[in-house]
């Protein structure tokens, strides 16, 4: 693997750091070992660069014990993005055919079914009820998790968008955005999905595209253009769209406080922190209470970059810790704006917290406020 001089210098500095960010690394928390840590990943790469020691199978496994959550970057004064560096090496490992075999089912599923859940693609959105509306036309790119695992997010998103006057259009043949593939190094496979999506999306007649999944958002707005794939309309995350309609959003009295979990892809990777908070503050009439670790210091839910696929028990430990952090606020509701995060957090919260995605909260407010009006 050949790195440019600047990246090699960053790796060298990180490899010999006295662990200034390790305390926030979720995989350090999950394994309680020096191996899956930012400086650990850097040390393996540095030794490979200097010829001291090549990557063995265990080293490759360690490079896949990373959520690419970039929390370490928040704490790094030299601003070394080890997540990006790890992803660069993963791309090479895939090209070399040296990736963990545990990723094969996910890759095969996306290749065959265009989603990581081995679900038939024709059933992706066939169940969604789309109201007719004369308003502005937008495309809702559902993403795989809302389509197959967190249906109420997709349905509530459609309902909320319709209430705001939008005519919601769903792509007839949406494929996986490619995020799980890109984050684990399978660029070519991801681009196959991407090219199809760009073609479909560009052919649709609408003013903009809205997504509920931050993984999709990052890929559509950052990765596609990086690979020369341009979408011909603006892409917004639903948090941004809802925030732009703040005064039209319903309000209601909740029976407890709400805390918000920033997803890594929406927050640290896309810089969207305030919009979902403003939406929550509006609909809940100021019931938002922050976790100690929030915004660019928010802990990952544990569900990213292939970790749950390869190491499900460790991923759950991370999710459980994030739930504990939410519980510490005394909130009754844990809201996120990511179907993937919601899925993990809800699985760990059991009945201790009510976990909702942002459109679900707004839909709840809508129904409650209607009840009161009636």
């Amino acid at each position: 693997m050949i790195y440019d001089e600047d990246i090699a210098q960053q790796i060298r500095m990180c490899a010999a750091c006295p662990k200034m960010c390790r305390h926030v690394c979720p995989t350090f928390l999950a394994w309680r070992s020096e191996s899956p840590t930012p400086h650990g990943r850097a040390l393996l790469l540095h030794q490979e660069i200097t010829g001291t020691r090549p990557l063995d199978d265990r080293a490759i496994e360690v490079l896949y014990q990373c959520l690419e959550c970039s929390h370490c970057l928040t704490w790094c004064i030299p601003e070394i993005d080890i997540a990006e560096i790890v992803e660069m090496r993963r791309i090479q490992l895939v090209e070399e055919g040296r990736f963990p075999s545990g990723l094969n089912p996910m890759v095969d599923s996306i290749r065959t079914h265009h989603n990581p859940y081995k679900e038939p693609n024709e059933k992706r959105t066939s169940w969604l009820k789309i109201p007719k509306n004369d308003g502005r036309s937008l495309v809702y790119f559902t993403g795989c998790t809302a389509a197959y695992r967190e249906n109420s997010i997709a349905q509530d998103a459609v309902s909320v968008l319709s209430s705001l006057g939008y005519q919601v259009n769903i792509p007839e043949d949406e494929w996986c955005c490619g995020s799980p593939l890109l984050r684990t190094g399978f660029v070519e496979e991801a681009l196959e999905q991407a090219r199809h999506n760009v073609e479909i999306l560009n052919s649709m007649d609408a003013e903009e595209i809205v997504v509920t999944c931050p993984g999709c958002y990052r890929v559509l707005t950052q990765d596609y253009p990086k690979h020369g794939l341009e979408i011909n309309k603006p892409v917004r995350h639903i948090a941004e769209l809802l925030q732009s309609h703040l005064k039209s959003l319903p309000e209601f009295e909740l029976d407890g406080q709400v805390t918000f979990h920033d997803s890594c892809h929406l927050g640290r990777h896309s810089g969207i922190y305030e919009q979902p908070r403003e939406v929550i503050e509006r609909v809940s009439k100021g019931a938002l209470v922050e976790m100690e670790r929030n915004r660019d210091n928010a802990m990952c839910c544990g569900n990213g970059a292939g970790l749950r696929t390869l190491f499900p028990e460790h991923a759950k430990k991370i999710g459980a810790e994030r739930v504990r952090q939410a519980e510490r606020t005394g909130a009754k509701y844990l809201v996120t704006s990511c179907p993937f995060c919601k899925n993990m957090l809800e699985s760990q919260a059991k009945d201790r917290l009510i976990v909702l995605d942002l459109p679900e909260l707004v839909e709840m407010a809508k129904k409650q406020s209607h009840v009161k009006t009636d």
């Binding site: 006295p18 070992s33 191996s35």
Partner: protein, 475 residues
């Protein structure tokens, strides 16, 4: 190093105690687990050198498991290097004779907070910042804030006899610790009672604080807590010379004032750390002070301290430099392009002396260290009624690894020699580890024989962290 058959046999036995997922013999894991914060280790990593590796890393989850692990190690005469956060700056956790690294990171829980007695009982593997944040939630502070706080563990605080940046007021780790649990080399578990003090013979607790894993493994500790102070106020004063600033510090303590922070930067360190942000006259030395407590106490302490500083020629810089230091106190610990370029290496010789010797020690060490092509800057911190510590910080950059490591050694050798000659003690809070192990006999004199005898009784097979603290050094 263990032969492969022995390694496999012992690993199997360890798996029976802690579970297979908590034992590793993978080389990658041993490479990553060797990583510590000794500047020489860091420089060697950058240069592409390998650090000494353990044969096995074991992660026990309880004191009982530590005990069983040590029984196996003792029976098989396997070297054991305990490791907590791997944040030591003296090489104390490097497994220089191979064997087993006993990693305490899984033992990371707060066991009890006793609000009435203001105590916390905590497992040794808890990271310092995690513990501080947890007690903060209950309205307390540990009062122990080493710069390594984000990486170092409670066990490491104790094993190295560490001190935090507010140690003048709150105390060092030995002042903050009431009770300990230790597992000896033969697996026996020793608990010292958590009481404010006692007169039941020598204090065994003190024997293990600073023992660096050479006498046993510390598995939990009962530490003091303090209410979070109502106020922390900062003040900064510049002095035309080191002597007058040191006098001011001495007189502040003599007036029975105990600031939480006392840091006095010599002209070189002032130029490096302060003058880039504040307009300080060239050649001046900056004193940073902080006062913790209720408003009335803080008012009084600040007023008396400022008066003393002024009487000794101090120029008032308000709260700026001191507050900025507090807000950026971890920044200097990060690697930078400048400090990691080529074969650069820097380190800190943190020493301690009484006031009558302090300035002589400083000047003698500075001269000795600068003789080896080193940039030396210093600050006096961790000050007390009777003396204090000096951070003798050096930095050198050499054309190749061999010259860099040799120069590093010469600076250490001559710096410590000068310190001892002038009546100082060679380590205030970083411990001994490997970087100071060759000087320990000169430091302790006949006391070292006592330490060796104690080691011989508690660890007759010499398995506990051999080579550290000058004990159990093998040919």
């Amino acid at each position: 190093m263990l032969d492969s058959k022995t390694k496999a046999r012992i690993a199997k036995q360890l798996e029976g105690i802690v579970g297979a997922e908590h034992v590793t013999t993978q080389e990658t894991d041993t490479v990553l687990n060797a990583h510590d914060a000794w500047p020489l280790s860091e420089a060697k990593i950058r240069a592409g050198e390998m650090l000494p590796l353990a044969d096995i890393v074991v992660f026990p989850g309880s004191t009982e498991e530590v005990s069983e692990v040590l029984k196996i190690a003792n029976k098989n005469r396997v070297p054991v290097t305990p490791v907590g956060g791997g944040a030591g700056t003296c090489g104390g956790t490097l497994p220089i004779y191979g064997g087993m690294q006993l990693d305490l990171k899984r033992m990371d829980k707060v066991l009890e907070i006793d609000h009435k007695s203001m105590l916390v009982r905590v497992e040794a593997g808890m990271v310092g910042i995690d513990l501080e944040e947890e007690v903060n939630r209950h309205g307390y502070t540990l009062g122990h804030t080493p710069t390594s706080m984000r990486a170092s563990n409670v066990g490491g605080f104790l094993a190295t006899r560490s001190g935090g940046s507010m140690s003048s007021l709150y105390g060092k780790i030995e002042d903050l610790t009431l009770g300990l649990e230790i597992v000896l080399a033969d697996g026996s578990i020793v608990r010292t009672k958590a009481v404010p003090r006692h007169s039941v013979g020598p204090d065994l607790r003190e024997l293990f604080i600073g023992s660096e894993g050479t006498l046993g493994v510390i598995t939990d500790a009962t530490l003091r807590l303090f209410p979070i102070p109502e106020e922390r106020r900062f003040r900064s004063m510049a002095f035309a010379d080191v002597h007058s600033g040191l006098e001011a510090i001495r007189l502040i303590f003599r007036a029975d004032i105990t600031p939480s922070v006392v840091r006095f930067y010599d002209p070189e360190d002032t130029a490096w750390s302060i003058s880039r942000h504040f307009d300080v006259e060239e050649g001046d030395s900056m004193l940073l002070l902080a006062f913790d407590g209720d408003a009335e106490t803080v008012d009084y302490e600040e007023r008396i301290s400022v008066d003393i500083c002024r009487q000794n020629g101090g120029k008032d810089f308000g709260d700026g430099p001191s507050k900025r230091w507090w807000e950026h106190r971890y920044d200097m610990y990060y690697p930078s392009k400048f400090t990691t370029a080529g074969f650069s290496i820097g380190d800190t010789i943190d020493i301690v002396a009484t006031y009558d010797k302090l300035e002589n020690v400083y000047r003698a060490m500075k001269t000795a260290m600068e003789a080896h092509d080193a940039f030396v800057m210093s600050h006096f911190s961790h000050m007390y009624q009777n003396g204090g510590s000096i951070y003798m910080i050096f930095f050198t950059s050499q054309p190749d690894a061999k010259t860099a490591w040799a120069t590093y050694k010469k600076i250490w050798d001559d710096g410590v020699t000068a310190c001892l000659r002038e009546g100082g003690t060679m380590s205030h809070q970083h411990g001994v580890g490997l970087s100071r192990s060759t000087y320990i006999e000169d430091e302790l004199g006949s006391g070292f024989q006592v330490l060796k005898k104690i080691k011989g009784v508690l660890d007759p097979n010499g398995i506990m962290n051999p080579g550290k603290l000058g004990l159990g050094v093998r040919e």
